[in-house]
């Protein structure tokens, strides 16, 4: 494609936009609205995923020991624990240390503990897992292995409820994907029809171009360029609106650190924003492709 053809194509892009501005606005707004919904899902999903990941990273497994375990057997047990795959740091918490911790946690209700004749709390090992190793499918077998060791009374990991929450998130991800695909399909459908309207208003012009020797590429290229621009602008508007809403939301949320361990709700990454723009352009391009394919069918 040489300079003249390119300049002619861009001239036609300008002309098309100026002759049917509302159709172009409608396409851009439709893409923007769809991407805004998709972007909102992505924002919620990434933040909840980050939250779950950070909680998962802090999972501790507590192995309670039999009462009166001699130090020699305890040391041997700790060595056996350390050899298990996935076990990181092991910290011994004696019966007394457990009681001190409980007292610190119940400092306003110490009277409840005063009547105790002896310390009922068991000694335990607090086991941290190797960084990056965590995963539900690995955690259960590890817990089973620990339970089978001698002198282990019980094993628990406090964040067991996280498993159910993670399952909910997996469902949320699947639902988001399905909704996302439906939204993209609907948007492509709307774009295809809007572009068809543009083509319909220009059908005589396009027919004449074809009759004087214009190739399909010469005829189609301006429409593809327009759609890509509309998709890009739609994406920009969506990211802008999402960012504005995000800022507004963040400024109103009291103590966000209560919700998230990292202390803040993160906006979409640059890559995710770029992906939204790319999806917008792809929607525009595909809408053009479908309508042009039908319109220029021989």
């Amino acid at each position: 494609m040489n300079l003249t053809t390119r300049s002619s194509i861009f001239q036609r892009v300008r002309r098309n936009v100026s002759t049917t501005p509302y159709l172009h606005l409608a396409t851009t707004a439709t893409i923007a609205f769809s991407l805004l919904i998709i972007g909102t899902f992505a924002l919620v999903y990434t933040n909840i995923s980050d939250l779950i990941r950070s909680w998962q990273d802090n999972i501790r497994v507590v192995a309670y020991l039999s009462d009166g375990l001699p130090e020699g057997r305890r040391t041997s047990l700790q060595q056996r624990l350390a050899k298990l795959y996935g076990v990181g740091e092991i910290r011994y918490v004696s019966k007394d240390a457990a009681m001190d911790r409980l007292k610190r946690q119940m400092k306003h209700r110490l009277s409840l503990l005063e009547g105790l004749q002896e310390n009922p709390l068991p000694a335990s090992f607090e086991i941290r897992l190797v960084q990056g190793w965590q995963g539900w499918e690995r955690l259960d077998p590890l817990v089973d292995q620990i339970k089978q060791l001698p002198d282990i009374e019980d094993v628990e990991y406090g964040q067991a409820w996280l498993r159910r929450f993670s399952q909910f998130i997996a469902f949320f991800r699947l639902a988001s994907l399905i909704i996302g695909v439906l939204i993209v399909a609907t948007t492509v459908f709307v774009c295809t029809n809007t572009i068809k309207l543009t083509l319909y208003t220009k059908r005589q012009e396009l027919e004449i171009m074809s009759l004087v020797g214009a190739t399909d590429a010469f005829i189609q290229t301006p429409f593809y360029i327009e759609s890509l621009i509309e998709g890009f602008l739609g994406g920009l508007i969506a990211v802008g609106l999402l960012f504005g809403t995000y800022r507004l939301f963040i400024s109103r949320v009291q103590s966000p650190h209560l919700l998230l361990s990292s202390g803040e709700i993160a906006f979409l990454s640059l890559t995710a924003c770029g992906a939204l723009l790319a999806v917008g352009m792809l929607i525009g391009w595909f809408g053009s492709y479908l309508s042009l394919k039908r319109f220029l069918r021989p």
């Binding site: 300049s7 002759t19 214009a214 021989p298």
Partner: protein, 229 residues
Amino acid sequence: MIMTTGAEPVIRMFHVHKRYGSQMALHDVNLTVLKNDFVFITGQSGAGKTTLLRLLFLDEVVSQGQILVNGIHLQRIRRAKIPFLRRNMGVVFQDFRLIHSYTVYENVALVLETTGQQKRYIQKRARQVLRMVGLEDRLHAYPQRLSGGEQQRVAVARAAVGNPLILLADEPTGNLDTTAADMVFDLFRQLHTRGTTVIVATHDSRLFEKVQGRIVVLNQGCVESKLTV
């Protein structure tokens, strides 16, 4: 454009039939047009003149028979090659078919833009052809601002601007007064002199005297006679 006096055929039609539903528009037409011929297709309204021209630039396809243009079999041509076939033809449509959102200049220049000519050449050539049809002062006017005759001259300029090998004109002087008709016909003659094969569909018998050529008379879709004048 290469000038030739050779007699190689540029258009060959073999037993061409064209039907629109049950109506037969052309019936068993056999025609050979040689390079640099000047051919008039004539006949009454509905004789099949326009249909015959439309078959040549593939605005319609034959129902039966074969057409070869510059050795290209029109029934076998690939869709992607059709624009290149059309670039060798200039067509003056009976209803002008100008783009109303384009100026006179843009309508004419479009033909050269599709072939990717240099901008400077496009400007020079489009102005030159518009001067030849007497529209140099209407470059920036839009077609709806022009009279029927002026629109027809724009259509002629557009057909001629690409120096086509074949010029097809459907009633090119139908809306023109004598002076404008002469101007347009002079342009056809110039193109013919430079080697262009010209085929004019007309029922205006006055045109036959203006140039030495062949006359093909159509009657109800059949070739009734072929004459040389």
